[in-house]
Amino acid sequence: MFTVKELVRPQTLAEAYRTLTEHPDNALLGGCAFLRLGNRKIAAAVDLSRIGLDYIRETEGFIEVGAMATFRALENHPACRENFSGMLPRAVGNVLGVQFRNLVTVGASVFSKYGFSDLITALLALDTDVELHAGGRMPLAVFLDKPYTRDILTRIYIRKDGRAAAYQSLRNSASDFPVVNAAVARLGDRWTVAVGARPAGARLAPAAAAALDGGADPGEAAALAAGELAFGGNLKASAEYRRAMAAVLVKRAVLEVSKCASK
């Protein structure tokens, strides 16, 4: 369990950022679900719940998700259910139980770049931008490649471009962490393939996507995705197993998206 010396509840982002960056032992609080599994000693814990970041709204061309929106809100929001073949609710719906998803926040999950994340893999297959208070707005893929800096993720923007999408994961039991996961999307003739829980963070598989753009069959693309990404072993699975299963998941997701698109 983590310890907190002082809980700070700022009213503005500027105030929150100032407190966060004042001292290396200060930290932001998201849902606290992951934080509580460690023993971090936090001097000032910054609670963002009074800044108005707990929202999901449809703006022109985007689904805008505030950092404090929960997984459960994402799962239930009509815009998330109706866009991308309902892929976002399906991706986060596997994350433990309803009570857990009512706690964990989109901002904390994306900012923390968790390797086991279901959400990041799904978002990576979509046209997603991340907005940081100090670092500004950038594509999710760019953010994932950047080194960690102390900042506040304020919101994400998911472009409502009408793409069809599918999410697949392999888990040892229904609510466990994914052993490996994959998300595939298609907009017109352009495909996107993402693989996560490698166990490192999710990455795009550009060679697989390009092959699909050129008309490759699902199995071929899946083999390319499994070949072009690095996989690692840990207590859940070996690198070889993950690579083999990633190919299966990518193939299933491509087949699913093909059916969505032909409707």
Partner: protein, 150 residues
């Protein structure tokens, strides 16, 4: 620090430490129905409602509950008993340790889902673990309680 919360309809002021967990606060305040089964956010035993939403009280800081509305099973005793009777009738009541968290989740589901399928019920209840027996008797009782097709 001092927080003001509404617990089961009663406004209360509580003195809590900045890193105090809501489950501990509630137990200290006399709500003994709140249990910590796993302490890793897996089992659902500590489920209470925060502003009407089922939430793991083992993972949330009490200090963040300032101004919020908390419901424990003590606050919905009549409804909980009605469901408990259905559980017993299905032979699905066991040691009872997981019951408060499980029942709080079932009562929340009744408010949230209209005419759910078996899959939707099971999906909603994933994250509530029982270590005594199985889940089929519970599912029958839940379906009776939700008044969906048997």
């Amino acid at each position: 620090m001092r927080i003001e919360v509404t617990i089961n309809g009663h406004k209360t002021a509580l003195e809590v430490a900045p890193d105090e967990i809501l489950a501990d606060t509630l137990r200290a305040a006399g709500f003994a129905s709140v249990r910590r089964g796993c302490d890793t956010t897996n089992c659902g035993l500590c489920t209470v409602w925060v502003d009407g939403r089922p939430t793991l009280s083992c993972a949330i800081l009490a200090a963040r509950m300032d101004g919020r509305d908390i419901t424990t099973i003590e606050g919905v005793a009549g409804e909980a008993e009605a469901f408990a009777r259905l559980l017993v009738a299905e032979g699905a009541e066991q040691c009872g340790f997981c019951s408060p968290g499980f029942i709080m989740t079932v009562l929340a589901m009744k408010r949230e889902l209209a005419d759910p399928t078996d899959d939707e019920i099971i999906h909603y209840l994933t994250g509530n673990l029982c270590r005594c027996t199985g889940y089929m008797g519970q599912l029958r009782a839940v379906k009776k309680f939700l008044e969906v097709r048997p």
